[in-house]
């Protein structure tokens, strides 16, 4: 299984760079993961989404879809695209250190 080093710590990832074990993630890693996605600094709304992603993963075993995020995170879909351009569900999942959300069928 591939690994990568984030904030000086080695973590397990899949072929696409998603964390495979959310428990290996710490908040200190988020800024570095965000920069890899072209997000220079994490604002409060970013953290709202990150904490929501972590909570959903812990409760349901998968990260939410963009629509699910828009309905339940308190951040609108439009804002989500401003915060995490190029696909909020995937980008936010990477920054939050959770596995790739299961897509819809």
């Amino acid at each position: 299984m591939p690994t990568k080093t984030v904030a000086g710590v080695t973590v397990d990832v899949n072929d696409e760079g998603f964390f495979t074990d959310p428990s290996q993630w710490t908040e200190e890693m988020a800024p570095e993961l965000a920069r890899e996605e072209g997000i220079d600094s994490l604002t409060d709304p970013h953290w709202t989404v990150i904490r929501f992603m972590r909570k959903e993963q812990a409760e349901k075993g998968t990260g939410p879809t963009v629509r699910g995020l828009g309905k339940t995170s308190g951040v609108t879909v439009k804002e989500l695209y401003q915060l995490f351009p190029k696909g909020p569900a995937k980008i936010a999942a990477r920054v939050s250190g959770i596995p790739k959300p299961r897509g819809c069928i």
């Binding site: 963009v66 699910g68 879909v77 351009p85 897509g103 069928i105």
Partner: protein
């Protein structure tokens, strides 16, 4: 005492479940009541053909109550909510129905109003959908009078009912305009939030190739944020634009609103969390669900509902007898894909096995993932099976709930 069984929804899943259960139980063993808000049962696969003048809207609608066998009660009313703690359904007409066992079979609802601009100027005219009877009829007029220009087919977001139907619409549009000798005056563009033409890799590659062969442009990873009917353009959340003269939109889907009014029953989109193998809901042991209303990771399609029905009814009987449930539903789906010029493809798959080439149901049979006239005839014949075998809850010979592997080219 007779079991009180309430079935919410008299579409494909509710009807076939009621009819199968009626055969399982004598009238002294169980009362079966089905609830729906209207008396129009639409053969939904037929909606695809209406815009192209290949079927008449009247020919795909029958009364719901007539599809239910003798000894099944039919209560026509909107549903207000389900009180899970009291095992009671509250109906819009004020009636309260107590149950020992509840089946949720109310399908998916379209929510076009959740997309900015979609139901604004142009809705029902230059912006329409074939996912409703009225929309399909409107598109028949729009296509008949289309003088050329940009036709755009757009899936706003997944999940949707019958994920292959928008592709079929694109293929049929290509045929339709060729048939009218005006294909050179029509640009067809297929705009999807997915990263390919379809969800499953092998089929996506084949279907994407078929779009290309037909000169249909494919725009992927497009998350529609706004439909501008006045300006004739789709705008994505990341601010890309696709212009159109006629837009065929597959709106967002959700579960039914009453699910949201029933605390504990549904998820954030009002779909009902359901065990993918037993079809018992996560909400309560005495509530089961099937078809488009659930969140199971299978296509929202009639074939899925049909195959689920066999497992579901067996499990209801086991549950009411106090026995262990059978977790055998494998996600089997089986879909014809109309490709134009009197041909169609067939795909057959389940939770674990994506659609691949080969034959169905065995080494001899209908070709899989390949265009053929036989598949087209199969698709047309299916309408007869739907009313006369599937809804009455009869097994179709050679086509069972478990996905067959003989005949498939498995790597």
């Amino acid at each position: 005492m007779a079991h009180r069984i309430i079935i919410l929804g008299a579409g494909t899943g509710g009807t076939l479940t009621a009819n199968r259960l009626r055969r399982e139980y004598g009238t002294d063993e169980a009362t079966i009541t089905v609830v729906d808000q209207d008396d129009q049962h639409v053969y939904q696969p037929g909606l695809l053909f209406v815009p192209f003048g290949l079927t008449r809207a009247d020919d795909i609608v029958r009364p719901r109550h007539e599809q239910l066998h003798d000894g099944i009660g039919y209560h026509q009313s909107p549903i207000d909510r389900v009180d899970l703690d009291a095992d009671t359904v509250h109906l819009g007409d004020g009636a309260e129905l107590g149950y020992d066992l509840l089946v949720v079979a109310t399908g998916a609802a379209l929510v076009p109003e959740e997309t900015e601009g979609l139901t604004g100027p142009g809705w029902g005219e230059t912006v329409n959908t074939f996912y409703t009877l009225d929309g399909a009829k409107g598109l028949e007029q729009s296509l008949a009078h289309f003088e050329g220009g940009r036709l755009v087919i757009n899936i706003v977001d997944m999940p949707i009912k019958c994920p292959v139907a928008p592709l079929e619409f694109a293929f049929l549009a290509d045929w339709f305009f060729q048939d009218r000798k005006m294909r050179d005056r029509v640009e067809i563009t297929y705009v999807t939030p997915l990263d390919a033409a379809f969800t499953k890799p092998v089929a996506a590659a084949r279907l994407g190739g078929m779009l290309e062969e037909r000169g249909i442009e494919l725009v992927t990873e497009f998350n529609t944020g706004e439909v501008d009917g006045t300006g004739g353009r789709l705008v994505s959340y990341d601010e890309r634009e696709v212009p159109f003269d006629l837009a065929v939109i597959i709106p967002l889907h959700g579960g039914q609103p009453y699910v949201g009014r029933s605390p504990g029953l549904g998820d954030e989109l009002d779909f009902v969390p359901t065990d993918p193998n037993t079809l018992q809901t996560a909400a309560r042991p005495n509530i089961f669900a099937l078809g488009d209303a659930t969140n199971v990771p299978a296509s929202k399609a009639g074939s899925v509902t049909h195959f689920e029905g066999e497992v579901l009814v067996g499990n209801i009987v086991r549950f009411l007898a106090g026995e262990t449930l059978d977790g055998s539903y494998d996600g089997h789906a089986n879909c014809f894909i109309e490709t134009g010029f009197g041909k169609a493809m067939l795909i057959d798959f389940n939770y674990d096995q994506e659609p691949v080439p080969g034959h169905f149901p065995s080494t001899v049979g209908m070709p899989l993932l390949k265009e053929s006239r036989l598949n087209h005839l199969g698709k047309l014949m299916f309408q007869w099976f739907y009313w006369h075998a599937l809804l009455p809850g009869r097994d179709i010979p050679g086509v069972g709930a478990d996905m067959p592997t003989a005949g498939k080219q498995l790597s």
